[in-house]
């Protein structure tokens, strides 16, 4: 790691006042919560912040349950705490996407706010040497013709094919989440679906957050019927691996007929990827295996492979189909309305 100064503010207000904005090139200061991404990337010299602003003890921690399935989640809540919270267990996709991610040691320290902002695992971003428009704007993208087996097939551009590596964001995006943020300029709310920006021509800009802006809480609304939900994660080994492809699914069924479906795709896209067109197509249909397979086909209709990762398109289709059928086979908690 390069030398840095360590700042320990006493409050969120103080934290956003003292942080030296990181900037897209990563040359400013950085916030530090669980540190599992930031310290990793600092050891690789991909990030070289002159100062770290530690958020330990100042971020809100815990989950509050409101009326009608609304939840307010402190950004400092750890992945491990959240995975076992009763409110998340009632909508299994929210819990499953957490405990199927990382390792127990990492989940014990990684925060939910930081989890949403974890950086890509693209090897060319992490090696600090190769052409990478995300790390060094204008340098090109070595991944397009390189080792891209793990990278994205949805939402890519000629500038960048790095995938968003996280799992929980794909579950969160199903529930119309809102982020509460704080910066030197005050507080605001951001629809979670707007947080991440597809790479386009400027892959260094990953989110709409300002340089000194901090996620402080996450609000979401979880319908009762989301007790029928799954996070289907396909990976190279059974545990402790990033998704090759994944599907976050929540289903409201009337018998075998879909009243409402919610679907997001992970592992294969540049940003958390909600498949709204597929959700609309599913509504009103009887959910048979053929329909699930067609939903998978539609979810990847716009996909583009880059060589080594071509397999993610058929695998992703199957993952969606499997997720839908797994959700259908579940017995929801309150099964009175769906036999």
């Amino acid at each position: 790691m390069r030398p840095f100064s360590f700042q320990k503010p006493g409050s969120v207000e103080e934290a956003v006042a003292v942080v030296e904005p990181m900037g897209v090139a990563g040359q400013g200061g950085a916030f530090h919560a669980g540190g599992t991404t930031v310290i990793d990337l600092m050891k690789l010299h991909v990030l070289q912040p002159p100062s770290l602003t530690d958020l330990g003890g100042v971020l809100e921690r815990g989950i509050e349950e409101g009326e009608d399935g609304t939840l307010r989640v402190g950004a400092g809540t750890t992945m491990a705490e959240a995975a076992e919270h009763p409110a998340f267990l009632r909508a299994p996709v929210l819990s499953e996407a957490l405990w199927k991610a990382a390792s127990a040691q990492l989940r014990n320290v990684a925060t939910l706010g930081g989890n949403l902002l974890q950086r890509t695992r693209c090897p060319y971003f992490r090696d600090n040497v190769s052409a990478c428009n995300k790390r060094e704007p204008g340098s090109g993208c070595a991944a397009k013709d390189g080792i891209n087996r793990l990278l994205a097939v949805l939402g890519t551009s000629e500038s960048c094919i790095a995938n968003y590596p996280g799992d929980w964001a794909n579950a969160l995006i199903l529930f119309d989440a809102v982020l509460e943020t704080r910066s030197g300029g005050g507080g605001r709310e951001i629809a979670f679906g707007d947080l991440h920006v597809p790479p386009g021509e400027d892959p260094a800009r990953e989110t709409i957050l300002g340089d000194d802006e901090l996620i402080t809480a996450i609000r979401l609304s979880v319908p009762e019927w989301a007790s029928r939900s799954v996070y289907t994660k396909v990976r190279d080994r059974d545990s402790y691996a990033f998704a090759l492809t994944s599907a976050a699914v929540a289903l409201d069924l009337d018998g075998d007929t879909v009243r409402e479906a919610r679907l997001a795709i992970g592992g294969a896209a540049t940003v958390p990827w909600r498949a709204r067109e597929v959700e609309d197509w599913l509504a009103g249909r009887e959910l048979t295996e053929d329909v699930a397979v067609e939903a998978g086909r539609r979810a990847f209709a716009g996909a583009r492979g880059w060589g080594e990762n071509d397999f993610k398109i058929p695998l992703g289709r199957d993952t969606v189909a499997r997720g839908l059928m797994e959700a259908k086979a579940m017995t929801p908690r309150n099964s009175g309305d769906s036999q």
Binding site: P3, F4, I39, A104, Q105
Partner: protein, 208 residues
């Protein structure tokens, strides 16, 4: 008079530890993807901004003035010579550096010591009580839960956390919740059996 094989080796003016330090650089290149991590563990150049923290390690509170870059792993090994905690990947991927912080298992390689003011750290050296091995240590011996032993301190600390967290309910659950600790020798069968044994003993002690 025959030499007792159990007696101390002759003093050659070089300890096992300094010998290892001397050979680390030449061995590092064999680790491929882990190379950057292996080198980094030895390289904390002087001159960075400092922080002051008080940390209780294995029951002993101590004040430290540290380069802000110092990880808990660096502090344990380089400053305190508590070398039971191992450097593996140095990037949170292998679990060899697992310790307990305030009773919770974490990767010490990714944790800045600067964040631990007031914290209580338990390492493998602090697990035994009154000279008696922790049930998890005994269980690893009883079940052959290791071969070369390099990952073992991390495995044992992680296993203690796994049982405390209540995630040792079945062999499948143990495998899932111990997946952050890699064993290149492949001693997983013995490791799972050890966790089962220690879990049962811990529960029996708690019930009595």
């Amino acid at each position: 008079m025959a030499t007792d094989p159990r007696s101390a080796p002759p003093d050659l003016g070089i300890s096992r530890r300094s010998l290892l330090k001397g050979t680390a650089a030449s061995g590092a290149s064999a680790f491929g993807a882990f190379q950057a991590g292996a080198q980094e563990a030895e390289a904390v150049p002087a001159g960075g901004p400092e922080v002051e923290v008080e940390i209780t390690i294995n029951g002993r509170p101590e004040r430290f003035t540290l380069d802000a870059r110092t990880t808990l792993l660096d502090l344990l090994r380089e400053r305190l010579d508590l070398t039971g905690t191992k450097v593996g990947c140095n990037h949170g991927q292998c679990g060899a550096c697992t310790v307990l912080v305030d009773g919770t298992r974490i990767n010490s390689c990714l944790r800045l010591a600067a964040t631990l003011d007031g914290a209580e750290v338990t390492t493998i050296e602090g697990l035994a009580e009154a000279g008696e091995m922790h049930p998890m240590q005994q269980a690893f011996i009883d079940n052959d839960g290791f071969q070369c032993g390099y990952c073992t301190p991390g495995q044992i600390m992680s296993a203690v956390g796994c049982v405390t967290e209540g995630h040792a309910g079945s062999e499948a659950e143990i495998r899932e919740y111990m997946s952050g600790n890699l064993c290149r020798c492949g001693a997983y069968k013995g490791i799972v059996a050890a966790v089962v044994q220690a879990r049962d003993e811990t529960e029996a002690r708690g019930a009595s």
